[in-house]
């Protein structure tokens, strides 16, 4: 072709810059209709212009920006100028009003369906609402303190002898002050001591009768306590309230109880029991007792420096190993990293506590637990008040969710089932020009309206059932919590989501109908819709059956816990507490007085009794071993007759007896677990020595008897070594009275009379041993009750849905049933025909639910040291129950339609 001309050279230059492909593609995809040509062309020209004026880079961005601005990507924003007739927007106010109208007419037209829907949803929402309130309250523990985010409790992980890893919240007295002195990032510390279960409060005012009350939840705290924890003082100054050892800070409730008024600054209260030792305390502050959501649910505070404890601390007991009886709280400086501090704590132990720990064969690691986490901290059974398990919150949360889900499923099922009825409406609307979007909005709107109706009912039900729910959960949730703006918003959000969720399937399903087919009357429920409906019913019953199974198993475990032989007699045992020095002083007199009654078989004093917390322990070691190989043994000091009174079963040796003058504080009666721990053969147990080291001195103890293992704690715990020691000095906390009578009122009257004769100004109190033991299962018992209640409700909702579906099925098959009857079908065969389908679904649900529930319950039972095996009949029982309920629900409808006179059902056409 010859030489290249100059012109040719020009064309062989690199190609001219082109606008970005992706932007061009976007333009071609989303260009407003009708403008494709001109926009493409114009933009191409503009690109060339921009390349000249602002360069390739600038042109690129301008092109992209221009494309983005001229296209209308979302269909909603796409100008609808292609149609020459105008069409109102789907969300036009007039249309909205129309939707509401249509929705209302539909609701009114099918009252039974609507009421099933609304009522089911309302029930589900009520459950969800109440459980949410409960969970919220459990999660909000201790968040009200001003410094909540920088408050920590010093926890310990102990290594005692061979046992490692046990975590406990208590520490010895010197930890707090030493930590504060060592680390500047600790702003303030406070220690708390839980004195006794109950204290005796007395007010003696001139000219008035003596007022005397037992009050629980009185704590001894450092004077810095209110510098960490926020309490609202109505009287007095929180900063100085506890500086004087003889001051007391009361909650307004206690103040009102003692003085009849809350304006009580400077008045005197005598506090008896372990805490106050019967001294007089001056009121220096009153706070509002609204802090129920705190793990420190205190009724009054007295300084740590008061009473016996004050003496102990003043004597300078700076032992870092023993007397772990203080809860030590830290407030960190702002912006302190708690992990960094935790990392320094091993060095702290090394520096301060190593020597003390070594002498008792004990090792510990310190860690920090954020105070707001304490209530749900998994490894502490209790800190100040009993803690809750997060597992139970998960259980309750899932129940809440499932109940709501079941209600939503009802809604979906009924709506799709009824779709045949509304198909014609959809067809007409579509023919009249309604777009799918508009129909979706209409159906969603309808379901949202129904949901809000349900929501209003649920609010009403919530208010109505709140007192019952409080009783069930042992909480004090109030209505005002329900109507707090934030809660209300959350609930409204929940209702909206529920409405959209429940309405979503029907909305998209119904709006997809092909108008041509529907209007020709060719519409039948498509296979997929029927399958989905069945699937949903199966799912619903799966949840219900699962819940039934769970509540069966929980129930059974609770019974097991209640009835398991514990190794001693718990019935007809009355425990009477001694709460003051004076009452302890009259122990011997009281005992001999009551033994005169022939209905009292025996009575004996003790420090602790099975069923209540026993924190007392000692580290013993065999004489041939060193203290580091020692074992931690729970100990209890008792009177001579205690073991007989409680009917512990003797295996070896003998029980304590007054006949043996050698029976002193240094003799032990141990349980079998102790022998196992020390590897002492049972036959050789009697006469064995166990040593106890205390401040460098070794004290020998001799085993004189072995009792059979018994449960001294609740059955979550395994049996561990336990030893009884004699207490020669009668300073017992309790006297256990074993009686032999059916007439408890009578014997209690007698005991009270004797008590009053000796301690006229102290109230007489008692508990029954078996009840105290049951208190340890309160959390489970409560969860069991909650699960049971909500199981019933969820089954109710499921059955409600089934009822609706059965009604629908019966209606749909009216003609068929009529024809069958005319041809001679029996009522039974028709009922069977209608019920069979549903029962099949329930049966499948049972099959699926059983293994899942088995696994879940198996996991739950692992929380207990002693537990039931899940018996096979539980599955059969739960399945039968579900089938029975479903059968009753469905049969009711089937029977009704089977009994209808065929003349009636057939002549309407």
């Amino acid at each position: 072709m010859g030489r290249l001309t100059d012109d040719d050279k020009r064309y062989s230059q690199p190609p001219e810059p082109r606008p970005p492909h992706w932007a061009e593609w976007l333009l071609s995809q989303f260009c407003p209709p009708g403008l494709e040509d001109e926009l493409h062309g114009d933009l191409l020209e503009m690109y060339a212009y921009w390349v000249k004026t602002v360069g390739v880079q600038g042109a690129y961005w301008r092109y992209v920006w221009a494309v983005l601005r001229v296209i209308r990507p979302l269909p909603l924003f796409r100008a609808q100028k292609t149609q020459d007739y105008s069409q109102p927007n789907s969300l036009n106010p007039t249309m909205l009003l129309n939707y509401v109208k249509v929705a209302w007419r539909n609701i009114i037209k099918s009252k039974s369906f609507s009421s099933i829907n609304v009522f089911g949803l309302a029930l589900g929402m009520t459950c969800c609402m109440l459980l949410m309130l409960y969970i919220r309250s459990e999660l909000s523990f201790d968040t009200q303190h001003q410094y909540a985010k920088s408050l920590y409790l010093v926890g310990s992980r102990a290594t005692i002898g061979q046992n490692t890893g046990q975590e406990f919240p208590m520490a010895s007295a010197p930890y707090g002050p030493a930590l504060k002195a060592e680390y500047p990032e600790i702003a303030q510390i406070a220690r708390l001591y839980i004195a006794d279960e109950k204290s005796l409060l007395q007010v003696r005012e001139p000219g008035k009768p003596l007022k005397s009350f037992y009050e629980t939840k009185g704590y001894q705290v450092d004077s810095t306590f209110f510098d960490l924890f926020t309490y609202t003082f109505t009287e007095g100054d929180s900063r100085t309230a506890l500086t004087d050892p003889h001051s007391v800070v009361l909650s307004d409730v206690v103040a009102a109880k003692l003085f009849g008024t809350t304006s009580v600054l400077g008045r005197l209260v005598r506090i008896g029991g372990e805490a106050g030792m019967g001294e007089e305390f001056k009121v220096t502050g009153v706070y509002q007792n609204t802090t129920t959501n705190s793990h420190i649910d205190a009724r009054f505070f007295i300084p740590l420096a008061s009473g016996e404890l004050g003496n102990y601390l003043r004597e300078g007991q700076l032992d870092f190993a023993n007397n772990n009886m203080f809860l030590t709280y830290l407030r960190l400086q702002p912006n302190t990293d708690p992990r960094a501090l935790t990392a320094k704590l091993p060095a702290f132990i090394e520096k301060y506590a190593r020597a003390d720990l070594k002498s008792v064969g004990f090792d510990r690691q310190l860690f920090l637990v954020p105070v707001p986490d304490l209530h749900l901290y998994p490894n502490f059974q209790s800190v100040v008040t009993p803690t809750n398990s997060i597992t139970y919150l998960y259980i309750l949360g899932s129940i809440a969710l499932f109940t709501l889900l079941i209600a939503c499923i009802n809604f979906m099922n009924l709506a799709t089932a009824r779709s045949a009825k509304r198909a014609a409406e959809v067809g007409v609307r579509k023919v009249m020009g309604a777009q799918q979007g508009a129909l979706v909005w209409q159906f969603l709107g309808e379901s949202v309206i129904l949901t809000f109706l349900a929501f209003l009912i649920a609010l009403g039900l919530g208010v109505l059932f709140l007192p019952m729910f409080n009783q069930l959960t042992g909480k004090a949730l109030s209505m005002s919590e329900l109507f707090e703006p934030r809660t209300l918003f959350a609930l409204l959000g929940m209702a909206l989501i529920t409405g959209l969720l429940a309405g979503s399937y029907p909305a998209f399903y119904l709006s997809l109908f092909d108008p041509a087919k529907v209007l020709k009357g060719k519409f039948t429920n498509s296979l997929s819709a029927v399958a989905l409906r069945r699937g949903l019913v199966v799912f619903q019953f799966m949840v219900s059956v699962g819940l039934v199974l769970a509540s069966f198993v929980i129930q059974k475990q609770m019974h097991y816990l209640r009835d398991k032989p514990l190794g001693f007699t718990q019935d007809q045992q009355i425990a009477i507490p001694f709460r003051s020095g004076e009452s302890r002083a009259v122990y011997t007199a009281f005992r001999s007085e009551i033994l005169r009654n022939n209905q009292v078989i025996s009575a004996a004093g003790t420090q602790f009794y099975p069923g209540i917390a026993n924190q007392s322990d000692m580290v013993f070691h065999r004489p041939d071993q060193s203290v580091t190989q020692g074992q931690d043994i729970r100990t209890n000091r008792v009177d001579f007759e205690f073991l007989q009174t409680m009917s512990f079963q003797l295996k070896q040796g003998r029980l304590f007896s007054r006949q043996f003058p050698g029976d002193t504080a240094n003799r032990l009666i141990v349980n079998e677990a102790t022998l196992r721990k020390f590897q002492i053969p049972e036959a050789k147990a009697i006469g064995q020595r166990l040593d106890f080291d205390w401040q460098g001195q070794t004290t020998p103890f001799e085993i004189v008897g072995v009792v059979k293992d018994f449960h001294y704690e609740d059955l979550h715990q395994p049996i561990t070594p336990y030893a009884f020691l004699l207490s020669r000095r009668p300073s017992f906390n309790y006297i256990i009275v074993h009686v032999n009578t059916a007439n408890m009122t009578n014997i209690l009257g007698f005991l009270e009379q004797k008590w009053k004769a000796l301690r006229p100004d102290e109230p007489f109190e008692y508990t029954f041993l078996n009840e105290d033991f049951q208190k340890n299962y309160q959390a489970e018992a409560r969860t069991s009750r909650i699960v049971r209640t909500f199981t019933i409700i969820s089954i109710l909702i499921s059955c409600l849905g089934l009822f609706g579906l059965a009604t629908f099925a019966a209606q749909q098959r009216r003609k068929e049933i009529g024809v069958r009857k005319v041809l001679g079908a029996s009522v039974t065969s028709i009922v069977l025909l209608l019920t069979k389908d549903f029962l099949k679904l329930v049966f499948i649900a049972i099959l699926i639910a059983s293994p899942i529930a088995w696994y879940a319950m198996h996991r739950w039972l692992q929380l207990f040291e002693y537990r039931i095996d899940i018996p096979w009949w539980v599955f059969v029982g739960a399945g039968a129950l579900a089938l029975l309920l479903a059968f009753i629900t469905v049969t009711f409808q089937s029977l009704r339609s089977a009994l209808v006179n065929p003349v009636k059902s057939l002549h309407t056409d």
Binding site: L35, D37, E38, L39, H40, G41, D42, L43, L44, E45, M46, A48, Y49, T53, R62, W65, A66, R69, V70
Partner: protein, 112 residues
């Protein structure tokens, strides 16, 4: 129909359409304004303004010839309608009236 009111931007675009006569299409209008009015204006702005003017009935449009530089695409050519002419004239009248009201000495002072 919306009240025929001419915004400032609309006025500029409409004037440009009138000035360009047979050649008035979006890209050229944009470039003209960009060059002559010493004022930066974006293509999409002109595009929407033209659409608004069409909605108001101030311009009419028809598809015009394609050229190679635009990848063989057609142009939409705009012409000023009678209503558009009226609006422009009215606009100019109002302005000149206001100009006339400014006292001559003042104008002289401005150097206008």
């Amino acid at each position: 129909m919306k009240r025929a009111f001419l915004g400032e931007l609309e006025e500029v675009v409409l004037l440009t359409v009138a000035a360009l006569q047979e050649q008035a299409y979006c890209a050229l209008i944009t470039q003209t304004i960009d060059q002559q009015m010493a004022r930066s204006i974006s293509f999409p702005t002109v595009h929407t303004t033209l659409q608004r003017l069409a909605e108001k009935g101030f311009v009419s449009s028809q598809m015009g010839g394609a050229t190679a530089e635009r990848g063989g695409r057609q142009k939409r050519l705009f012409t000023v309608t009678v209503a558009g002419q009226r609006a422009l004239i009215e606009c100019r009248l109002v302005r000149s009236q206001l100009w006339e009201q400014i006292p001559t000495p003042v104008l002289q002072l401005w150097g206008a």
